[in-house]
Amino acid sequence: MKFSRRDILRASVAGALGMSLEHLHAANGKPFRIYMILFRGETPVEAGFTDYFRSKGIAAEFIVRNVDRDVNRVPELIREARSIRPDLIYLWGTPVTVAVCGAMGKVDPQKHVTDIPIVFTMVSSPEGAGLITKRGASGRNITGVSHVVPIERQIDAIRAYRSFNTLAVAFNPAESNSKQSVDELKEISRRAKFKLIEFPVPLDDKKRPIESSLPDLLSEIARQKPDYLYLGADSFLGQHRKVVTETALQLKVPVYSATEVMLRDGKALFGLVSPYRNVGQLAAYKASLILQGSRKPGEIEVETLPSFSYIVNMNIATQLNFYPSLKVVNFAEVIS
């Protein structure tokens, strides 16, 4: 047990830096104005976001707009934002964020907002969406929080429940971030030596996923007898979470979910997730750096949470007669 001189040095430098960052005074006494564009109404993310400001005593005024799953309403909201000129814009989800910020290399100052600081949340893959070129700081007027746990950690989490050989993944091929997760899974399956079976949801001729095909898809999955069914951060499947997870449960297929909503409001068995509240809080922290610390959004790293929640639904486990290992029992958050 030896701590080197390096460790002590690093710790004291970090402490000094940390202290110098915290100076809490709002600009010229007026509350900050934050313009929020939501995709499907208020979620626990927003609760975490606004709570942060409240708990730190930072005066802020929140102007909330909801596009209700229709991305085409974004341009008029951008016009409104331009006329209001808020101190910060908050965006929820990939479609909204791409519509407001534009992908790298395709940014049009007429269409996209380039002169107001932006913090985004619930973008599962900022790189995949083209918002940033690589993980880290964006170099432009945006920063944000991704809610998806890195794939390796997810696979470790699945293995901790009980070891497995075959993983089935269902996804909406029309969503680019879903396709990207599946690619990542394929890559890992080669390295970690497990079998991955892909089940894309059938698309109609307008390239939209067919809702009525879900039961058949799940029956097909059950027939293949995978050890687990993996559900990623897929909006379509998230939207139809009740159908998907209940059918899977009936067919006795254990479901792993990468998002919290499938567990708390669905019948997924377990998952390693970023709690939405914490995502909101981290986004608020970044917002506070911009508003108070006069940091530029382009210098603040886009990142995921440092730690995640391992959630197990014990009722589902009992119904499946498929219980987690002793280790998981003792550290997971158990819900029923």
């Binding site: 030896k2 219980y323 002793l326």
Partner: protein, 707 residues
């Protein structure tokens, strides 16, 4: 030994030593022996307590699963869980989960069936004394033998919803096994005891000589001079302390003689011319014969050489403290800068150290001659302290190299100062005794320091030990200031050490074929073996076999002990039977052959065999090598060049020492550290045989020429 000396100090000193050392031995042994049963007695209750806490915590964790509704038989991942716990908890042998009737559901660390039987036989007792250890015998699981082992099993109930009994958790350990592990401690105790006795001896010697033996020896020398008819006065620095009264008396006697001489001289002057002249002549002859009116510097101021012993001991101790773990420590630092492979990059700092040490020796000697022994000793101590401190604190590979270089130079300066001091203050008769004092201080610290360093490293970490070494080097500074007189320096030009200088006669030894044969094929491989095997490979290999740092130190100490004990014996044999050459060859073969068995059985036992063989072989050959070298050189070349030839021999030797770790590292890259050892041994054996053949060939050639 004259009666005077015996009466003055010899008997007193000897009895004092014996008494003090016996006192130290008895008190330390007493403490160790009486505390040992207490340590052992505490072990089993401690493990019992541990077993109880482990079983309670396991039961809580399992209860949690049960509370969530997981049926007992459906628990999964229990064995992995048990494995993790066993790995983290020392001393526990097995973990098990059983039903309330004793049927084992999961177990790790013991065969389930055997445990079940054991549980069932003692079941009554176990269930009635839950939470307490129960001695349980278990049948051995090996097919051939039916051995029984006894365990102490602690069982605890697992409750669901804190009420419903569901299962039992069992935690067990084998008390005999645990006790055997603790027994290892007694080796540490013994080594520390031995090392402390040796260190005590050194300190005792230094203190006693300075304050007691030294002054009295000086007085005895003065009396000896006077009994030989030498009545010169002395400018003695040994006039203080315990001998003050005696010295004062002697001074008075001398003064009286001188005064009476002066008054006689005066009286003679007043005589008439002719008588005055002859009187003057007689008086002059008297004064010359009895050294009256003169001043002598009593060269044999006693304890001068012994002073150097404590100074040598301190700096050698400081530099050897890190020996047991240095390669491991270096590879930890080097990890971060992965420019080269770990084996190579941890051997390079060692080589840099040895190379700087070797190469700076001739210059260090010259420098020390010119600027005085005290100044050079203090400079060396400062350099060594700086090098040690920065090795302790740095994490950077290049800074590390520089620190090692600085430390090596410091060591060389210290070494040459001490060696030079010895030569300055001894004459041809007692030089070998002086050198012996110097060398034995080195050997004693070689014995003690690695062991102490290893034990310290386990508690304060590697950097901590290096810092202790730094403090020791710094401590030698005021000591050197006090002990080394200002004039123990460039004076006595006739006695100046030739070993340290690379003189102009350096060509001739290199052309002497016997000199080169011994140097290249006997001395260099021996040093390669010493630095490559003992200093570099041994700690790495032993760490691979799982030895702790204090264990490694224990191994390193055996080399020193063997060498310390065997060297005087073999040098005596060599002198008496004049078989130096045979000893060199035999020593080389012994060292080389003892490295080979590890190829067949890679274990720490074989490493020990190699160390023992190395110690024995080196003890056989070291002093004989030196004797042979000087003899060869004297037979052929100018006798005056003998000492510079010795210096060159030392330099060549040290080149071998510098190359050792690098060569070992390169071989280890291909064959792994364990495989490198027999290869080094094979190289040693073949080069020794080659040396033998060359010398025999040279002998035959000379015989043919003579015919």
């Amino acid at each position: 030994m004259t009666l005077i000396r015996k009466q003055l100090y010899v008997i007193a000193a000897r009895s004092f030593f014996v008494f003090t050392l016996l006192l130290m031995l008895v008190s330390q042994a007493g403490v160790s022996i009486t505390s040992w049963p207490e340590i052992k007695g505490k072990l089993v209750p401690e493990l019992d307590r541990k077993a109880l806490s482990v079983s309670t915590s396991l039961s809580t964790k399992i209860a949690r699963a049960l509370d969530y509704g997981v049926p007992l038989e459906e628990l999964s991942g229990v064995d992995i869980f048990f494995d993790e716990v066993l790995e983290q908890t020392e001393g526990i042998s097995y973990l098990a989960l059983s039903k309330l009737d004793g049927t084992v559901i999961f177990s790790r660390g013991i065969d389930a069936k055997a445990l079940e039987q054991g549980l069932l036989t003692s079941f009554e007792v176990i269930t009635s004394t839950l939470g307490n250890p129960v001695v349980m015998t278990v049948m051995g699981s090996t097919a051939s033998s039916s051995t029984t082992r006894s365990y102490r099993n602690t069982a605890v109930k697992v409750f669901q919803q804190e009420e419903i009994e569901k299962a039992l958790v069992h935690v067990g350990f084998d008390p005999g096994y645990a006790e055997r592990k603790v027994s290892d401690l007694k080796y540490d105790v013994a080594i520390v005891l031995f090392a402390s006795l040796l260190i005590g001896f050194e300190i005792l010697l230094a203190v006693l000589t300075g304050n007691f033996i030294g002054p009295l020896k000086a007085v005895a020398n003065r009396i000896d001079l006077m009994t030989c008819g030498n009545f010169s006065g002395t400018t003695t620095s040994a006039s203080g302390g315990i001998a003050a009264g005696l010295n004062a008396r002697l001074d008075r006697i001398i003064r009286q003689i001188n005064e009476s001489y002066s008054s006689t001289f005066e009286a003679a002057r007043r005589l008439p011319q002719s008588a005055a002249q002859s009187a003057a002549l007689s008086l002059k002859s008297i004064s010359e014969r009895f050294h009256i009116d003169q001043v002598t510097d009593p060269q044999a101021i006693a304890g001068d050489v012994v002073r150097i012993r404590i100074l040598t001991f301190i700096f050698m101790f400081a530099s050897m403290l890190s020996r047991p773990f240095l390669p491991v420590y270096l590879s930890e630092i080097v990890d971060s800068s992965s420019v080269l492979s770990p084996e190579l990059s941890s051997s390079i700092p060692i080589t840099v150290y040895l190379a700087c040490m070797a190469l700076s020796m001739p210059y260090a000697g010259r420098w020390s001659d010119r600027h005085g022994r005290r100044n050079s000793y203090m400079l060396g101590a400062l350099l060594m302290a700086a090098g040690l401190l920065s090795t302790a604190l740095t994490g950077n590979f290049w800074v590390l190299l520089v620190s090692r270089a600085v430390e090596g130079i410091g060591y060389a300066v210290l070494f040459m100062s001490c060696q030079g001091y010895v030569v300055d203050n001894t004459s041809a008769e007692n030089r070998s005794q002086g050198v012996a004092t110097f060398v034995s201080a080195i050997m004693v610290s070689e014995v003690c320091a690695p062991a102490v360093g290893g034990v310290l490293a386990d508690s304060m970490g590697f950097s901590g030990v290096l810092i202790v070494a730094t403090l020791l080097s710094l401590f030698s500074l005021p000591l050197a200031w006090k002990l080394l007189s200002k004039n123990g320096s460039a004076s006595g030009p006739k006695e100046r050490s030739q070993d340290s200088k690379v003189s102009t006669g350096s060509r001739s030894p290199l052309r002497n074929s016997r000199f080169m044969a011994i140097s290249i094929f006997a001395a260099i491989p021996a040093k390669i073996l010493l630095s490559g095997f003992l200093i570099f490979l041994t700690p790495v290999v032993l760490a691979k076999f799982g030895s702790s740092t204090s264990e490694i130190g224990r191994f390193a100490i055996t080399y020193g002990i063997i060498a310390l004990v065997a060297m005087p014996i073999f040098s005596m044999i060599g002198d008496r039977y004049q078989c130096h050459f045979q000893l060199v060859i035999a020593g080389g073969l012994v060292s080389g052959i003892s490295m080979l068995p590890i190829a067949f059985e890679p274990s720490s036992r074989m490493v020990l065999l190699g160390i023992l063989g190395l110690g024995l072989g080196q003890a056989m050959s070291i002093s004989s090598q030196l004797t042979l070298i000087s003899r060869f050189v004297q037979a052929v070349d100018d006798p005056e060049n003998a000492s510079s030839a010795l210096g060159i021999f030392r330099l060549i030797e040290r080149i071998g020492g510098a190359l050792g770790p690098v060569i070992a590292g390169i071989i280890a890259l291909r064959m792994g550290p364990v495989g490198a050892i027999p290869i080094l041994g094979a190289v040693m054996v073949s080069s020794t045989i080659f040396c033998l053949m060359i010398i025999i060939w040279l002998r035959k050639r000379d015989e043919r020429i003579a015919q």
